[in-house]
């Protein structure tokens, strides 16, 4: 082997990186449930506020990432400040590079696969380190650190404490994702945690009970939109209109508008999820064994959408650091609106999605550029992902052959052609549909909740599928299933 390879760099770090053992024997159904739930609980504990910041720091942080918070579980002012962004970015990066053969890796060889996965882990850690340093040096925490006046930069001590917490959580998050991926939990780590985060936040946004003091006023408001509506409900007709309007439109905390948008988007996503083409298949070995092989319209699930927003989010995060460090106004110009740093001009402005109908109309050029970028990225990804993930027409035809299956009325050679006619079209048009749906949700004011809703629902279906398959195969021995059966 000649020449320099990226993977050789990984080798040096291999002995010191913690590595989850693969299970020696098949993980039982009960164990999977226990590990999934406990991992989820630990993940949700990541919403602990960072030590060293003011109480309710989320109200003080001037937030440039408000559009991506819920998609990557980046909780403001908490341990999950970076959320799943580093892990998702590194995963997409390596797998797409390998798919395009831009890095030399022989995935057929086991030792190479080991290096490949360790490479993903290291990249994820390096990205979190870079982003964490970026957050500190761009003075992101400047306005929220305890005992700091406006305009001062944070001390080394609090910078160290903050990076210990943020990086520590990122490190453990990578390991938790690995636990899922190695088969101890259901589904993939990234999507399972993302769905969990979305589900809990959805409930919290609607019926959250905690009272939060609003910035620049002495009012207390409930976190949940519905709770807020009920609490401020009064029979005085003058007050009533105001309080109802407020619970629909408030921007510091979740509002009912977002809730309805998420709900509609979720329902439509469920609808789209059901579209599929059913190919009649039959066994070549046995007579009369007929079945159907479904090819879903969302052949690649919500991954294209997730990919498009991963690209966008990384551009915005890096862009924010560059703007803050260099003060370059051509790159981007931020304006503070209700503790959110909203882009008002510059390159980054044209690469960010408008988050209300007003913004959509005020600059049509931005709307066109940003939304066509998102749609292009997601369709491009959908087109290639079936090849990269080993589920292209050729791969499936190979599986058919191994299992002695053929499409009714087709010869072996034309199976590839038949599948090749359906799969790319299904995945690209599915990606287009679901991305447009999410974009409409964003334009109506979803603040990232619409996109997360779509990704969450599609992942939840995937995880459910795996869960049910597992419970049918070895649910008989499961104590949980048998105890549930007693209640029926």
């Amino acid at each position: 082997m000649s020449g320099f390879r990226l993977l050789d760099l990984v080798k040096f770090l291999l002995p010191v990186l913690p590595e989850i053992e693969s299970p020696y024997e098949a993980v039982t159904f009960d164990e999977k449930i226990v590990i999934t739930i406990s991992t989820g609980i630990i993940f949700l504990f990541g919403q602990l506020p960072i030590y060293g910041l003011k109480p309710n720091s989320s109200l003080f942080i001037e937030d440039p990432f408000y559009q991506f918070r819920s998609i990557f579980a980046m909780e403001k002012g908490t341990l999950l400040e970076l959320g799943l962004l580093p892990v998702i970015t590194s995963g997409f990066l390596w797998q797409i590079l390998a798919g395009f053969k831009k890095i030399k890796v022989h995935l057929g060889v086991r030792s190479e696969r080991e290096l490949f996965q360790t490479g993903q882990k290291i990249t994820s850690l390096v990205i979190s380190l870079i982003y964490c340093l970026g957050l500190i040096f761009s003075n992101y925490y400047g306005s929220s650190v305890k005992g700091l006046n406006v305009g001062e930069t944070i001390s080394i001590g609090s910078a160290l404490f903050i990076s210990y917490q943020v990086l520590g959580m990122s490190f453990f998050l990578t390991l938790l994702v690995e636990t899922f991926d190695k088969g101890y939990g259901f589904g993939s780590g990234i999507l399972c945690l993302l769905t969990l985060q979305y589900a809990t936040n959805f409930v919290k946004d609607v019926v959250g009970l905690e009272l939060i003091p609003l910035a620049n006023s002495n009012k207390l408001e409930n976190h949940g939109a519905l709770t807020n509506l009920i609490r401020n409900f009064s029979f005085n007709p003058k007050e009533l209109g105001k309080s109802v309007l407020n619970s629909f439109t408030r921007s510091e905390l979740p509002n009912l508008n977002q809730f309805y948008i998420s709900l509609i988007v979720i329902l439509v996503a469920i609808g789209i999820n059901n579209f599929r083409i059913e190919l009649p298949i039959r066994s070549t070995k046995m007579r009369g064994m007929n079945n159907i092989y479904p090819i879903k319209l969302l052949y690649t699930g919500a991954l294209p959408l997730l990919f498009a927003f991963t690209v966008l989010a990384n551009i915005q995060v890096v862009g924010y650091f560059l703007v803050k460090l260099t003060g370059n106004a051509i790159l981007g110009d931020y304006k503070l609106v209700n503790n959110q740093l909203v882009l008002s001009n510059g390159v980054l402005y044209y690469l960010s999605l408008p988050s209300s109908i007003y913004q959509l109309l005020i600059n049509p050029l931005r709307t066109v550029i940003s939304s066509s970028l998102v749609i292009f990225l997601s369709c491009w990804f959908a087109n290639y992902w079936s090849y990269f993930s080993g589920s292209s027409a050729v791969d499936i035809a190979k599986q058919f052959k191994e299992q002695g299956i053929t499409i009714g009325g087709k010869r072996d050679a034309s199976i590839v052609k038949e599948l090749g006619r359906i799969i790319p079209v299904a995945s690209v048009s599915g990606a287009f549909l679901i991305t447009s749906l999410a974009l409409v949700g964003e334009f109506l004011g979803g603040f990232g909740k619409a996109v997360t809703g779509v990704v969450g629902i599609c992942s939840a279906f995937g995880i459910m599928e795996e869960f049910i398959m597992e419970s049918q195969q070895n649910g008989g021995n499961s104590q949980l299933m048998s105890s549930l059966a007693n209640y029926q």
Partner: protein, 86 residues
């Protein structure tokens, strides 16, 4: 020296096509290599057990709880010292 049938040029051609075939048949992902990994709808990063520092998932869970506990302890200390000093 025995000459390749069809001359040297055709031997080179043959080698080229063989190389192309070999690189075309190389798996593009861990799943197509038959080792699990990202499927069409599920994104997975970690598939094989590497030679590094192997640990049990339960230990990871306990370490993660320990980390979170350390942050809680920081908060508690901050509360306590804040109450005594000011």
């Amino acid at each position: 020296m025995s000459q390749a049938p069809g001359g040297l040029r055709s031997a080179a051609k043959r080698k080229n096509t063989a190389d192309k075939k070999a690189s075309a048949s190389q798996p593009l992902s861990t799943r197509s290599a038959g080792a699990g990994g990202s499927s069409a709808t599920m994104m997975k990063l970690f598939t094989d057990e590497a030679q590094g520092l192997r640990i049990d998932p339960l230990i990871v869970l306990f370490l993660a709880v320990g980390f979170i506990f350390s942050v809680i302890v920081l908060h508690v200390f901050a509360k306590l010292t804040g109450r005594f000093s000011s």
